[in-house]
Amino acid sequence: MTGVVSPADWAPVALTLKLALVTTAILLVLGTPLAWWLARTKSRLKAGIEAAVALPVVLPPTVMGFYLIVLLGPHGWIGGPWESLGWPRLVFSFPGMVIGSVLYSLPFAVQPLTQSFAVLGDRPLEVAASLRSSPWDRFFTVVLPLSRPGLLTATVLAFAHTVGEFGVVLMVGGNIPGRTQVVSTAIYDHVEMMEYPQAYGLSAAMVAFAFLVLLVLYTLNGRTGARP
């Protein structure tokens, strides 16, 4: 990609990857228990939580970005107390972008996980319990291995979707070159400033990356699908 992406654009590329990695890691840690709960619960809250998780799919990113700026800003419900504790500002910073990305990509991690947990059914868990396996043990030795396709899908989609997001990171991050500028916002800047060759380079890299990721996902899932 070195020939395609101009040297000045490596900073946004690195930041994009860092943001996507951190976001994906957080989403897997938070999304797995949430998905497990959604897949197993008989609570009446389930539909409400599912709808809330799915909101980022239908809302314009600007709406989410706007609320996040309000909440995380120096006078927001979260940003206010945060800054009064002496911690660095959340908006226009990397932590703020992570919070925005986690919320925005949440459905892409939670939905495939919920799906794959739900199709497991009770039987493998009952079998494991009858073989002296405790609830945690069952989760790690039976549920997670049997949910590999779902985990893989969740990981890849969360990562790729974070790499591909624009509106939320633009609003929460502020597109500050060298600090909060990611690939998608860098392309936007290049186009604004009529720097078409750079825009071409980054865009082509993004297309190649997205295709490659999806290709890997479908190949791997196709293989595990043939051998469930």
Partner: protein, 364 residues
């Protein structure tokens, strides 16, 4: 001893049982689908929670009065499910060892090699469950349960999902469980043939209530038995294999009292014990020994009791009379017309003609 009470109410179904099952041998929970037998088993295994009390020997697994409920993974049970329950992500060896690894090494009374040899699994160890036949999978599932050195083995219709061939493959192993294991087995089934072949003790259920309970042979042969749906009343008798006749493809069985019975050629060797189920409709009665009959088995007996069967029919219980004393009891179902025509009555001597029989247990 496994005893207690269980109550469970579901939409359109309720289970309400008080039980006291022997601490050894195989107890069949028998009834049609929907009678609650599987739910009961699940409650015993801790997979489902009813209300009441479950005790095995001196150990309490559930007592709602004092708030005890031991979860499934802390109960020393082996559980064999109806359908393939092997973990698809593990090969046969890892499936077998899944439970074995999770018990205290000091409690392991059986090892992998022993189970593999007994169930004939050595060829399968490296294979994945998806490549196994139904019978092979069930053998692995049984081995996996036994490798946890359980104190109680629970089996939920382990043969119901198998075809006839696979059933024939599994049956000898289930029969051998008796002699191999000193632990009690509770076996859920709706098939009277399985009860006849396997059970020592039986509990019959209907609509979540116990309708009969006791020695399996006696219950299955009794005059007032409650036949399962689609099953005819009949008697189950135990016999010893006296000799095989390969020319005629027959096996000579010897019954109590010195009686003999010819059966279709059995697989077991001479001297082995078998159980034979003789449906009542396959037994007809005559006053004298019929001459020139094609029926192989004509046995002398005495009418001990009768019961009204379907309209126009009588169910007759006979005690066979051998040279050395009383033989086993048979059931015969004849028409009311024949009963009156022959002038039959309780206490009379008759000749029982056995037209055919089913093999119930072939102890190998």
């Amino acid at each position: 001893m496994i005893w207690g009470t269980l109550r469970l109410v579901r939409e359109g179904f309720s289970l309400d049982v008080r039980f006291d099952m022997p601490g050894q041998g195989l107890t069949a929970l028998f009834g049609h689908s929907g009678s609650g037998k599987s739910t009961w088993l699940r409650c015993l295994g801790g997979l489902e929670r009813g209300q009441g009390r479950v005790r095995i020997g001196d150990t309490c697994w559930q007592d709602d009065k004092v708030g005890i409920f031991v979860p499934a993974h802390r109960r020393p049970i082996g559980y064999v499910f109806q359908e393939a329950s092997l973990f698809p992500h593990l090969n046969v060896r890892a499936n077998l060892l899944y439970g074995w690894r999770r018990i205290d090494p000091q409690q392991r009374r059986v090892g992998l090699d022993e189970v593999v040899e007994w169930l004939g699994l050595s060829r399968l160890l490296a294979r994945r469950p998806e490549g196994l036949s139904g019978g092979e999978r069930q053998r692995v599932a049984i081995g996996r349960a036994l490798l946890t050195s359980p104190e109680l083995l629970l089996m939920d219709e382990p043969m119901a999902a198998l075809d006839a061939e696979a059933k024939a493959e599994i049956m000898p192993y289930l029969e051998a469980l008796h002699r191999r294991l000193s632990i009690p087995v509770i076996y859920v089934t709706h098939a009277v043939e399985e009860v006849a072949r396997l059970a020592d003790h039986m509990v019959q259920l209907r609509d979540g209530r116990v309708i009969a309970e006791g020695n399996a042979l006696e219950l299955l042969s009794g005059l007032h038995q409650q036949p399962a749906a689609g099953e005819e009343p009949g008697a189950v008798i135990e016999a010893r294999i006296a000799a095989h006749d390969d020319v005629h493809h027959l096996t000579q069985l010897s019954l109590a009292g010195g009686l003999g019975l010819l059966a279709p050629r059995l697989a077991s060797g001479e001297g082995g014990m078998v159980r034979v189920r003789i449906p009542a409709r396959e037994v007809s009665l005559s006053l004298d020994v019929p001459q020139g009959s094609s029926i192989l088995n004509i046995l002398p007996g005495r009418i001990v009791a009768t019961a009204e069967g379907d309209p126009g029919r009588v169910l007759v219980q006979l005690e066979l009379e051998g040279v050395y004393g009383p033989g086993p009891r048979l059931l015969s179902r004849i028409s009311r017309y024949s009963w009156d025509l022959l002038g039959l009555a309780e206490g009379m001597r008759v000749q029982a003609q056995v037209k055919s029989m089913g093999l119930a247990r072939d102890d190998g």
